[in-house]
């Protein structure tokens, strides 16, 4: 830790909203004309659904991951400042962290560099969660989340939890050049760097919340560009690095809002951020100053668990319908198709599969919540079959497709076929489908995240 930081400020660059989304190199490089204390980048999100965690795959391609990391590591190592990756590989489980580590090692070899790498694992064993459940330490995150059961835990192959700043701080104190975090609360890696330099936790976490999406807090907003945050003793500032964008008090305040359930009470691992009394002021052209972010430590520390389990296999078809006579009675026809399919597959239990129809152009996005009446002249129909096995999904979907294609509904004039397929073959084998089976809080009494340090 250096003396005098309080006055000068701690500068953190976030190159992009998700590692591998890409960012223009020039504004990023130009930022280093002033002293920068760390490069922190978030790699994770649950936005893309449970599949990444369940199937152990990444959000971005290996190519994109390497391309971004190459630039970041080159700059970070040359400047001798820490590079921290939050929620490595997207979902932040073991496979995701290992992939990131492998790419880091590859880059170091290519750049002929050595580094001390801190790896923080966020994986949890099923038995650990079962024990916590039996001890009454597990609660659902919101009232509409079903209670956790032992059976569900055993069905969930990969379980992670979101870390706070504590294990990352430990890695910084051990002098790591590169820190690869498993699943993290998105602002934690940013907060850790600020706290390491003696800054206020409330301001550090609030800044992290704003920086973790890259330049999304600027106008025009994007996750694919760099943003600079500076922490001072009693405030922080945010500014865009690319001259084509600019932060405003509204854009920064609005981003504080983003993808959180409450506008000013933000719950993190072991604390609540109260941002009710924050002030957002433009102190110089495009430099937004924020004050009064308040960190309130929780009496009991709870971390957020995430787990995804496989629930079915999917096969789907996309087709267009242009015939007004069919459009008029589409739901009725689909009901009939469903009945015919059910009777053909009489030997298969109805619990082993489901058929769903989506009508793009009518109500596919909102479903039964769609308030507007249909007024179009064509509908994009997507139908899917979800079944216990992939082969069963394929077989049932083929039957739904052929039944639907030729179904002779009442009043039909187009007796040659009901569906316009854009592709041949029409049926797409999707593979496994997952659900978030665990999205619960777990009470803990000590930091459960393991730090491993390797020198490469």
């Amino acid at each position: 830790m250096e003396r005098g930081n309080m006055q000068k400020g701690i500068r953190i660059i976030s190159p992009c909203g998700i590692l591998g989304y890409g960012f223009p190199k020039e504004p990023f490089i130009k930022a280093f004309e002033q002293r920068i204390h760390g490069i922190v980048v978030d790699a994770g999100s649950t936005d893309a659904g449970p599949h990444k965690l369940g199937a152990n795959v990444s959000i971005v391609s290996r190519f994109a991951l390497k391309k971004d990391l190459f630039i970041i590591l080159e700059k970070g190592l040359a400047q001798r400042i820490p590079v921290i990756v939050g929620s490595s590989g997207g979902a932040g489980a073991k496979t995701h962290v290992e992939l990131t580590l492998e790419v880091v090692k590859e880059i170091l070899a290519e750049q002929n560099k050595h580094a001390k790498i801190g790896i923080i694992w966020a994986d949890f064993k099923q038995q650990t969660i079962i024990n916590a459940l039996e001890e009454g330490r597990i609660t659902p995150l919101s009232p509409n989340i079903p209670d956790l059961t032992k059976e569900k835990i055993l069905d969930t192959k990969t379980i992670v939890a979101q870390m706070g700043h504590e294990p990352i701080l430990k890695a910084l104190k051990q002098g790591c050049d590169i820190i690869l975090c498993g699943r993290s609360y998105d602002p934690s890696p940013f907060a850790a760097l600020g706290i390491y330099h003696g800054m206020d936790a409330g301001l550090a976490y609030h800044l992290g919340k704003i920086l973790e999406c890259g330049a999304l807090c600027a106008e025009p907003g994007t996750t694919k560009d760099s943003i600079l945050g500076t922490l001072y003793e009693d405030s922080f500032t945010v500014q865009a690095l690319n001259p084509i964008r600019k932060c405003t008090p509204t854009s920064v305040a609005a981003h504080t809002f983003y993808e959180k359930e409450h506008p000013f009470m933000l719950h993190g691992p072991g604390f609540t951020l109260n941002l009710e009394n924050c002030e957002f002021n433009e102190i110089a052209d495009g430099i937004i100053e924020v004050r009064n972010s308040q960190y309130i430590a929780d009496k009991e520390v709870r971390i957020k668990l995430e787990g995804a389990r496989k629930v079915a296999y999917r096969t789907f078809v996309i087709a267009g319908i242009r015939d007004p006579l069919l459009i008029e009675r589409l739901e009725e026809v689909e009901h009939e198709v469903r009945e015919q399919v059910k009777s053909y597959f009489a030997e298969i239990s109805e619990e082993d599969y489901q058929v769903n129809f989506y009508h793009y152009g009518k109500d596919a996005v909102l479903g039964e919540q769609e308030p507007s009446p249909f007024t179009g002249h064509e509908i994009g129909v997507m139908f899917e079959v979800l079944a216990k096995e992939q082969e069963l999904a394929n077989a049932i979907c083929a039957n739904v497709r052929s039944t639907f294609l030729h179904y002779g509904y009442e009043g039909r004039k187009s007796s040659a076929g009901n569906l316009a397929f854009p592709f041949a073959p029409s049926d797409v084998e999707f593979g496994p489908v997952y659900e978030f089976s665990i999205y619960h809080l777990m009470k803990i009494t000590r930091d459960p995240f393991l730090l491993e340090v390797v020198e490469v």
Binding site: G49, P50, H262
Partner: protein, 103 residues
């Protein structure tokens, strides 16, 4: 004709707040518009429940945040993000019904 919310709002968006909730943000760029909407009492839990076909318990939060000139409404997802039957994995297109709310 009465003014619709979309005409007053600078930003009107929806997004997942975790996989089990969707959060609707309405942000204004003038204090006057914000105060007008806030004072009109048109946006209530009952109204949101009605337009989204939900029960009152499914409206988890409805909060005005003066500093940001914004209103945040967080509702329960009937089906969690990406699970069988979900229609909007990111929850990014669930704001449309709110746009037509008449003030």
């Amino acid at each position: 004709m009465r003014v619709k919310l979309v005409e007053k709002a600078k930003i009107l968006r929806s997004k997942n707040a975790g996989p089990f909730e969707i959060t609707l943000d309405v942000l204004f760029d003038s204090k006057k518009d914000y105060e007008e909407v806030k004072g009109s009492d048109v946006i209530t839990k009952e109204k949101i429940a009605e337009i989204y076909n939900l029960s009152i318990e499914d409206i988890h939060h409805l909060v005005y945040f003066d500093q940001a000139l914004g209103i945040k409404i967080t509702i329960a997802r009937k089906i969690s993000s990406g699970s069988p039957g979900d229609r909007d994995v990111y929850g990014a297109q669930q704001h449309a019904p709110l746009m037509n709310l008449e003030l």
